[in-house]
């Protein structure tokens, strides 16, 4: 039951959120020469100016009209070039986003800082007011009402949130020109941190970090009494704030290649792309360090750390995708699919993505070294990488990965799509000291563990047979152990040889039967 403070918190949050989303519609747009001069390349300026001359003087009430007029003007221009066979003049630059941003006029752009402070303050403050009063309850994990609540049982609130997230990701990746007002709001913060104006990625990064921090506090409150959960939550909050957010911004402030030092190939699939290699080579010693560090991380760090601690060291302690899943996504962990068919599907898809990532990277490097675009004469590295970027990088990781939290659970991407998770999982499965120990015969088959396993592992299947759980997909979040009402499960790193003992069909406690196994 909500306390009054919580009600106030929720109300403030909703107001702040409405303000934030509503702000997208608050600008008017006017195309002027000044706007074009500041955004369009010199050699294309004259052409763009004349193509869009019809728009000049018009004040658009919404981004939709403005963007559509602008895009059709450019398309018409390009059509002309095509017809006249002037291929070299065709404009491939995406001007819609910078032009729309620069063309914003009116009350909002002048007061965007006010909107920024007000909406974020209300959102964050309101959320904390909602979360923190739960501290007064006694420690102990309360999943009361999870399957009665339309926000967490795939009910209408979940569908609304999911649709919002999907819409957000589609705009972010493919139509950022409709998000320019947010970018305007974040300009001051961006200038403060990295010296330049904000991009939609800066907005995304900041919101992402805020989500992890605020929902991280929720985790700290919810899992009071379970230090493992609390400590790993602090860890993901730390790595997101410092490694994923602050350090790269500061690096670019000092004109260094911005790199998230904890992210690694193949999750960071563009790590070996030509422009990023060039950027590092140009940056001299520091760039070289980044290259070596990034390579050592997956080549040496992954096998060594995973051998000792299991893949959890990365997936539920360090990773940014994991960080979001474990904080913002925690309310949805019970929605993962536990069926055997889902596991079969998962193995094919996630390892398929790993193969795709490796082949794509090899092809890209081959092109980089040899100058030839086709590997083996038929694998075109440019289409491979753009295909990967679109299908895996944008659709899978973003739109599906996060957008479907409220429908398919919080680890859709990590489970089905992440090539790094697949790689870590192979190490965990075949060469690691990590396992989840089952406590003798104490399981009552209640199903809490399986239900709350975000990776869709049917933990109970193993627990009720007294078998230790060694699964490549387990991210070691420890929630199965936390929610087990009988103390059956424990995450342990121990001697590698004893983690998969021969399975005795008769569980501990029944001495009458001796079975030869």
């Amino acid at each position: 039951m909500l306390t009054n403070t919580q009600r106030i918190g929720l109300t403030l949050f909703l107001i702040g959120f409405a303000l934030f989303v509503g702000s997208l519609s608050l600008s008017r747009y006017q195309l002027t020469d000044a706007v074009l001069t500041s955004t369009v390349k010199k050699e294309q300026l004259a052409a763009v100016e004349s193509a869009t001359s019809g728009m000049q003087g018009t004040v658009y009430g919404s981004a939709f009209g403005f963007v559509s007029d602008f895009k059709s003007a450019i398309a018409k221009l390009n059509d002309g070039y095509k017809a006249r066979n002037e291929k070299d003049k065709i404009i491939n630059d995406d001007y819609a986003f910078p032009v729309t941003k620069a063309a914003s006029i009116g009350f909002f752009p002048d007061n965007s800082l006010l909107f920024f402070c007000l909406s974020l303050l209300l959102c964050v403050g309101g959320a904390l007011l909602y979360i923190i009063p739960k501290k007064r309850q006694l420690p102990g994990i309360k999943n009361n009402g999870v399957f009665h609540n339309p926000a967490t049982n795939r009910g209408w609130i979940g569908i609304v949130i999911g649709s919002f997230l999907i819409g957000f990701y589609v705009l972010l990746y493919f139509y950022p020109e409709y998000l320019t007002n947010w970018v305007l709001m974040f300009d001051p913060l961006s200038r403060l941190l990295n010296g330049g104006p904000a991009s939609q990625w800066f907005v995304y990064g900041t919101l992402y970090t805020l989500a992890i921090l605020v929902m991280g506090v929720r985790m700290l409150v919810k899992y009071r009494g379970n230090p493992y959960q609390q400590i790993r939550t602090v860890s993901v909050m730390f790595f997101q704030t410092c490694f994923a957010f602050l350090i790269p911004e500061l690096l670019s402030l000092f004109n260094q290649p911005a790199q998230d030092l904890k992210n690694m190939w193949p999750l960071d699939y563009s790590f070996y792309f030509d422009y990023r290699l060039d950027q590092k080579i140009q940056a001299g010693t520091f760039g070289l360090f980044l290259l070596v560090w990034g390579t050592a991380l997956w080549l040496i760090g992954v096998p060594v750390m995973t051998y000792f601690f299991g893949k959890r060291w990365y997936c539920s302690w360090v990773c940014g995708c994991g960080g979001l899943a474990e904080t913002l996504g925690d309310p949805y962990r019970q929605l993962s699919d536990k069926r055997l068919v889902a596991w079969k599907f998962e193995r094919v898809v996630v390892h398929g993505v790993l193969v795709f990532a490796v082949v794509m990277t090899v092809a890209v490097l081959y092109t980089y070294v040899s100058g030839q675009s086709a590997l083996f004469g038929f694998l075109d590295s440019y289409s491979l990488r753009s295909g990967y970027g679109f299908a895996i990088g944008s659709i899978f990781a973003g739109v599906v990965g996060t957008g479907f939290y409220p429908v398919m659970g919080n680890r859709v991407w990590c489970r089905f799509g992440c090539p790094l998770a697949a790689y870590l999982g192979l190490v965990q499965r075949f060469k690691s000291r990590f396992r989840i120990t089952t406590n003798g015969g104490q399981c009552i088959s209640c199903g809490n563990c399986s239900t709350y396993c975000e990776m869709g592992i049917d933990v109970r299947w193993y627990a009720q047979r007294g078998q230790d759980i060694v699964r490549s997909s387990c991210v070691g979040c420890g929630v199965c152990s936390a929610v087990c009402p009988r103390g059956v499960l424990n995450l342990e790193n121990d001697d590698e040889t004893n983690r998969m003992p021969a399975i005795n069909p008769i569980l501990l406690g029944n001495d009458g039967i001796r079975v030869n196994v």
């Binding site: 009361n144 609540n149 230090p227 493992y228 104490q442 809490n448 406690g509 009458g512």
Partner: protein, 438 residues
């Protein structure tokens, strides 16, 4: 082809079916049950009500499992067993022939003949129909009374509490669960339950249930003549074997179906396992301690099933339980027990008791006065390693050795407070900044 019919798809019946199939590919296996189409975990009933899970989540095996393993499921109620003709009659008058019959029909909630018992909104909790009726009768109510100081009573209290229904718990004795745990532990649980806002009334018994004009419960009266208003009464006064349908079958009954250590009844090829049986002669665990004649817990149901499956597959095997173990959870406090732990110390036994200063965790080890060999261990708010506790008890390791090596039995999650030092009298460590903040 041998046809094995199992009545009851609970843990006992299903374990039998699975183990028979593992060893015998050809036997025809039919499991008949009235309550549900598929096996579900009875122990998870409370979590369905509390919204932690749905009914689907409580099924330990996916629905395709049964077909794949050729275990035929029949939904129906067995009204009669005709042991002479080796057949059973379902309530819809179909007859099924068996070569071997396993009775695994579980329990029913017990009641005491209180006046007013038939008022609506008064019930126990054993199966899915009870859950449904509880769901129905507790919608939009704000006061409930739970009668009984056992495991199901406290689960009902927690269930109601999760729905923000004020709960009064009536417990006959001076502390909670006095039939099984000593006073310190009973008080620890009592404190915890009260902290949650449950009105725990000790040394209080139910005398009468009062109904309103519509026949719906409106209050209860205690033996000391206090009236407590409520709209729901949960009865948690124990369970009894579900064997009434066998009265005319010729199968010998005590409280439960009487069996020997092979689970054989007085009729050949008829076996009884799980909650519903009763041993004619007492059985002892391998640690030498006697077991109850009627064992009504999940784990023993499973062990009965594992054992009788051997016999059904031609390898006649006596039931030989090991060191006793059990577990439960009281709101947020987990409980595990191993070996023999009586509420009152037995002759010739001594006890070691440690309680954390937070008053929410404790450990008790009972040991023989002579030789200090450990006979039983239980813990509240701590997780212990089953295999280690079992070994210590089986080998009667002396108390000082057990205490000094207690680390081995620690099964708490990583980063939990190290309490094993405190067993030797050290002060608890200071709280970390995280614990102080949250």
């Amino acid at each position: 082809m041998k046809h094995i019919i199992i009545i009851g798809n609970g843990i006992a019946g299903i374990t039998t079916a699975r183990h028979v199939r593992q060893q015998d590919d050809s036997a025809r296996i039919t499991v008949i049950s009235a309550e549900s189409e598929h096996f579900y975990s009875r122990t998870a009933l409370m979590y369905i009500y509390m919204g932690h899970m749905t009914y689907e989540h409580t099924k330990p095996y996916e629905d395709w499992f049964w077909k794949k393993n050729r275990i035929d499921l029949v939904r129906g109620y067995v009204g009669e067993v005709d042991t002479g003709a080796k057949r059973i009659r379902l309530i819809d008058d179909t007859w099924l022939d068996y070569d071997a019959l396993v009775i695994a029909t579980g329990s029913v909630s017990s009641t005491v003949n209180w006046p007013g018992l038939d008022a609506t909104g008064v019930q126990g909790l054993y199966g899915l129909p009870d859950l449904e009726s509880m769901e129905h009768h507790t919608r939009d109510i704000d006061r409930a009374v739970v009668v009984g100081g056992g495991l199901i009573g406290i689960e009902m209290a927690e269930m109601l509490h999760s729905r923000h229904i004020a709960v009064t718990m009536l417990v006959r004795d001076t502390h909670y669960w006095s039939s099984t745990i000593p006073a310190e532990e009973g008080e620890l649980i009592g404190r915890h339950v009260r902290q949650h806002g449950v009105d725990l009334q000790l040394q209080t018994e139910l005398n009468e249930i009062l109904a309103d004009d519509n026949g719906h419960v409106r209050a209860i009266v205690t033996t000391d003549e206090r009236e407590i208003a409520c709209q729901f009464v949960g009865l948690g006064v124990g369970v009894t074997p579900n064997v009434s349908f066998l009265k005319t079958s010729g199968i010998e009954l005590g409280k439960g179906v009487l069996v020997n250590e092979y689970f054989e009844t007085n009729i050949p090829d008829v076996y009884a396992i799980g909650d519903c049986n009763e041993f004619r002669a007492p059985i002892a665990g391998t640690d030498g301690s006697p077991r109850k004649a009627i064992e009504q817990i999940w784990y023993t149901g499973r062990m009965h099933g594992e054992t009788v499956a051997q016999t059904l597959c031609g390898n006649r095997t006596a039931y030989q339980p090991g060191v006793f173990f059990n577990s439960a959870k009281f709101f947020d406090i987990e409980y595990q027990t191993y070996g023999t732990m009586n509420a009152r110390l037995a002759e010739g036994e001594k006890t070691y008791y440690w309680e954390h200063p937070n008053g929410q965790q404790c450990l008790r080890i009972n040991y023989a006065a002579k030789g200090e060999g450990v006979v039983g261990i239980h813990a509240f708010g701590l997780r212990l390693r089953h295999a280690v506790c079992e070994r210590w008890i089986r080998e009667h390791r002396p108390l000082p050795e057990v205490l000094s090596q207690f680390q081995q039995a620690d099964f708490n999650p990583e980063f939990s407070e190290n309490y094993t030092d405190q067993l030797a009298g050290k002060a608890p460590p200071r709280k970390s900044w995280l614990q102080r903040l949250f």
